[in-house]
C-alpha cells in the first residue's frame, strides 16, 4: 500500500515537472532599503512573482538583465499593497531593483536603487 502511494506521488511530481505549463512561484518583499526575494535562484521559464510592499513608501520592482536590459516592471506599489508580476526568464543573472527617485521633505534626493534596493538573482537551466 505504501509503495502504491509513493509511486503515485512520484508520478504526480513527474507529471507536474514534465508538463512545463505551471509557472514557478516566488514572493518578493519590498521595504526600505531592501528587495528581498524568497529565493535567489530560479529555474528557467516563467516565474510568478508576488510582490509585496511592506515598507513605508511606495516602491516598484523593475527586473533587468545583468547588462541592464529591462525585462518587466511593476507599476507603483503603494505601501502595504501587493501585485503579481509574471516574467519569463532565460538562464542568466538578473537584477531586481526599485527605480524610484524621490525628493524628501528636506530637499534631498533619495534614489531607492542607490540606497540599496537592488539584488541579484540567478536563473539556472
Amino acid at each position: 500500500m505504501r509503495r502504491v502511494l509513493a509511486a503515485s506521488v512520484i508520478l504526480i511530481a513527474a507529471g507536474c515537472t514534465g508538463g512545463g505549463a505551471a509557472a514557478t512561484s516566488a514572493s518578493v518583499e519590498l521595504y526600505e532599503p531592501v528587495i528581498a526575494p524568497s529565493a535567489d535562484t530560479f529555474s528557467t521559464g516563467e516565474v510568478s512573482l508576488a510582490v509585496t510592499n511592506t515598507g513605508r513608501f511606495a516602491h516598484t520592482l523593475v527586473v533587468t538583465t545583468d547588462s541592464g536590459r529591462v525585462i518587466t516592471a511593476t507599476e507603483l506599489i503603494q505601501s502595504g499593497e501587493s501585485v503579481d508580476l509574471v516574467v519569463d526568464l532565460a538562464p542568466g543573472t538578473y537584477q531586481f531593483t526599485c527605480r524610484i527617485v524621490a525628493q524628501m521633505d528636506d530637499g534631498s534626493l533619495l534614489d531607492h536603487y542607490e540606497a540599496g534596493m537592488n539584488t541579484m538573482v540567478t536563473v539556472t537551466g
Binding site: 511606495a58 516598484t60 529591462v70 527605480r99 524610484i100 527617485v101 534626493l109 534614489d111 536603487y113
Partner: protein
C-alpha cells in the same frame, strides 16, 4: 841601529780586496708588465660609477605608476559602483526647467520650447504639466502619458517636488503621431518643478536604453585600461632602470674590489721591495764591516811583523855580534845598549797588547775619589823622569782643584800622552791643568762632564795628519810612518771613559794638545795662580 831597524820594511802595500766578491744585486720584485695599473684599471673599463639619478628617475616612475594604478582602481571602482539615476535626472530636469523658464519668460511658444529642450537633452520626450496633472505643452503634439494615473508623479506635481519613477505605461505613447512605445513599455518619467513658472516639466526616458547604457558604462572603463597600461609602462621603465642600475652597481663594485686587490698587491710588493732594500743595505753594511775588520787584522799582522820582529832582530843580531871576539869594549857597550833598548821596547809593546786584551776581556772598573789636581800633577812629574831632565812640566793655575777620578788611571793616561808626544818627535812637552780650554777640540771621545777640569798635554811636534785625526783614538790605528803599536791612545781613551771623562785633541803644524776632562769634585776653584 834601532833607527835602522825601525826604518826597514815600511812598505805601503795595500791589500787587494778585489777577491772579496760583492753580493749579487738583488732584483726588486715588480708587477707584471701586462698587469694594468690601479688607476688605469678602472679608467680602462667602460664601467662607471652608477648615477643616483637612475634611482631617482626609477623612483619617480614607480610613484607615477602607483598613482596611475591607484587612479585606475578608483575609476573602475566608481564605474562599478551601483548607482541610481537620481543625479542624472536632477541635472537634466534642472537644465530643462531653467531653459523652459527662460524661454517662457521671454514669451516663447511652449511647444517649441519643449522640443528644443528634448533635442538638447537627447531624450525621448518633454512635457509641461500643470499642478493638477494636465499636459499644457509637449514635445509631441500627440504625446500623452501615464501621469494622471500615477499617484506618485501626481503627488510630486501637486507639491512641486522632484520625483522620478520607472514603471510600465498603461497605454501606448505617441511621438509625432506615431506609436513610439507600446503599452507595458517601461519608461522612466521624471518630474521637476519649473523655475518662476507654474507647473512642472516632465521628462520621459526609455528605461531599457538608459539602463543598458549604464551597464555598458559600468564595465571596464577605457580610462581604467589606459591608466593601467600607463602605470604598467611606468613600472616597466622603473624596473628596467633599477635593473640597469643594479647591474652597473654590481659591476662597479666588482671593479672596485679588483682595484682594491691590485692596490693591496701593489702595496705588498712595495713593502717586499723595501724589505729587500733594507736587507741589501744591511748585507752591504755587514760586508763593509767585515772588510774593515779584515783590513785592521791585516794591518795588525803587518804591524806585529814589523814592530815585534824589528827589535827582536836587533836583539838577536846584537847577541850574534857579541859572540865575536874582535870587538872592542866600546863597541860591546854600544851593542849592549841597543839590545837593552830594543828588549825594553819589546817588553813595552807586549805589555800594551796584554793590557788591551785584559781590558777588553774584563773591562775597567775604578773607584772614583776626590783627588787634588796638585797631587795628580805631582804624581805625573814624578812618573816622568825625563821631564825633569829634558823638559819641565808646566803646572800652572788651578792646581788645588779637586777632581773626582782614579789617580792611578789619570796619571797613567797623562804620562802615556807625554811619552807618546816624545815618541812622535816633540822636543817640548807641557802638562797643564785648567777649568777651560783655549781651543775648540777637533776630535773628542767619551763624555765631557758638565763641570770639568782639564789636564792638558801639549807638545811642539809635527802634528797629526788631518785624515788620520778621526781615527787617532781607535784600536791599532796609527800613522803609517809613526812608531808604536797603535794601542797607546786607544788605551788612554778606554781609561778616560772608565773614569767618566773625555779625551779630546787639537792639532796643527805647530804642535798637538790632548785634553783630559774629568769631573770637578765640588771644591771651589782658586783663580789665582799657585806659584
Amino acid at each position: 841601529m834601532a833607527q835602522d831597524f825601525a826604518g826597514k820594511g815600511r812598505s805601503r802595500r795595500r791589500l787587494r780586496w778585489g777577491r772579496h766578491r760583492q753580493p749579487p744585486p738583488l732584483k726588486h720584485l715588480a708587477l707584471p708588465a701586462d698587469l694594468p695599473s690601479v688607476e688605469n684599471h678602472t679608467a680602462a673599463s667602460s664601467t662607471r660609477r652608477p648615477s643616483r639619478w637612475w634611482v631617482a628617475v626609477a623612483l619617480a616612475c614607480v610613484f607615477i605608476a602607483v598613482v596611475a594604478l591607484g587612479t585606475a582602481f578608483a575609476v573602475q571602482r566608481a564605474a562599478d559602483k551601483p548607482v541610481g539615476e537620481g543625479e542624472l535626472f536632477l541635472e537634466d530636469a534642472s537644465t530643462a526647467a531653467r531653459s523652459i523658464s527662460d524661454a517662457m519668460s521671454r514669451g516663447g511658444d511652449p511647444d517649441d520650447v519643449v522640443r528644443h529642450v528634448r533635442n538638447d537633452l537627447t531624450i525621448e520626450g518633454v512635457s509641461i504639466v500643470a499642478a493638477d496633472g494636465a499636459i499644457e505643452a509637449s514635445s509631441s503634439a500627440t504625446l500623452s502619458g501615464s501621469l494622471l494615473e500615477n499617484q506618485f508623479l501626481l503627488g510630486g506635481a501637486e507639491r512641486g517636488r522632484f520625483v522620478a519613477l520607472a514603471a510600465p505605461i498603461t497605454r501606448p505613447l505617441f511621438v509625432d503621431g506615431v506609436v513610439e512605445w507600446e503599452q507595458g513599455t517601461v519608461l522612466y518619467e521624471v518630474l521637476a518643478p519649473l523655475d518662476d513658472v507654474a507647473g512642472s516639466v516632465l521628462l520621459h526616458y526609455d528605461v531599457a536604453e538608459l539602463l543598458e547604457r549604464r551597464a555598458r558604462d559600468s564595465g571596464v572603463q577605457t580610462e581604467t585600461l589606459l591608466l593601467i597600461a600607463f602605470g604598467a609602462l611606468m613600472a616597466l621603465l622603473a624596473g628596467l632602470l633599477l635593473l640597469g642600475w643594479a647591474r652597473t652597481a654590481r659591476r662597479y663594485a666588482q671593479m672596485e674590489h679588483e682595484s682594491d686587490l691590485l692596490r693591496q698587491h701593489s702595496s705588498e710588493l712595495a713593502q717586499s721591495n723595501q724589505q729587500l732594500s733594507e736587507a741589501r743595505r744591511a748585507a752591504e753594511r755587514a760586508l763593509h764591516l767585515a772588510e774593515e775588520k779584515n783590513r785592521i787584522r791585516a794591518e795588525f799582522v803587518l804591524m806585529i811583523n814589523h814592530e815585534l820582529r824589528t827589535p827582536l832582530t836587533s836583539v838577536v843580531t846584537g847577541a850574534e855580534l857579541m859572540s865575536a871576539e874582535d870587538l872592542s869594549a866600546e863597541q860591546r857597550s854600544v851593542i849592549t845598549d841597543a839590545m837593552v833598548s830594543d828588549g825594553r821596547r819589546l817588553q813595552e809593546m807586549i805589555g800594551q797588547m796584554l793590557a788591551v786584551a785584559r781590558i777588553e776581556n774584563r773591562g775597567l772598573a775604578y773607584e772614583l775619589e776626590e783627588i787634588s789636581a796638585t797631587s795628580v800633577c805631582d804624581a805625573v812629574t814624578s812618573a816622568l823622569p825625563w821631564t825633569v831632565s829634558v823638559h819641565a812640566a808646566e803646572l800652572n793655575e788651578h792646581r788645588d782643584a779637586f777632581v773626582l777620578t782614579d789617580q792611578t788611571a789619570l796619571v797613567h793616561v797623562i804620562t802615556s800622552l807625554a811619552n807618546n808626544a816624545r815618541t812622535h818627535g816633540a822636543d817640548d812637552v807641557r802638562i797643564g791643568c785648567t777649568d777651560h780650554l783655549e781651543f775648540e777640540p777637533m776630535h773628542e771621545v767619551g763624555v765631557r762632564p758638565d763641570n770639568a777640569i782639564f789636564f792638558t798635554v801639549a807638545d811642539d811636534g809635527p802634528g797629526i795628519a788631518p785624515d788620520f785625526l778621526p781615527r787617532v783614538f781607535e784600536k791599532f790605528e796609527k800613522d803609517s810612518f809613526s812608531p808604536g803599536t797603535g794601542l797607546g791612545l786607544y788605551m788612554a781613551r778606554m781609561m778616560v771613559e772608565a773614569v767618566e771623562g773625555s779625551l779630546s785633541v787639537y792639532t796643527s803644524a805647530e804642535g798637538t794638545t790632548f785634553a783630559i776632562a774629568v769631573p770637578l769634585a765640588g771644591a771651589e776653584l782658586v783663580t789665582e795662580p799657585v806659584g
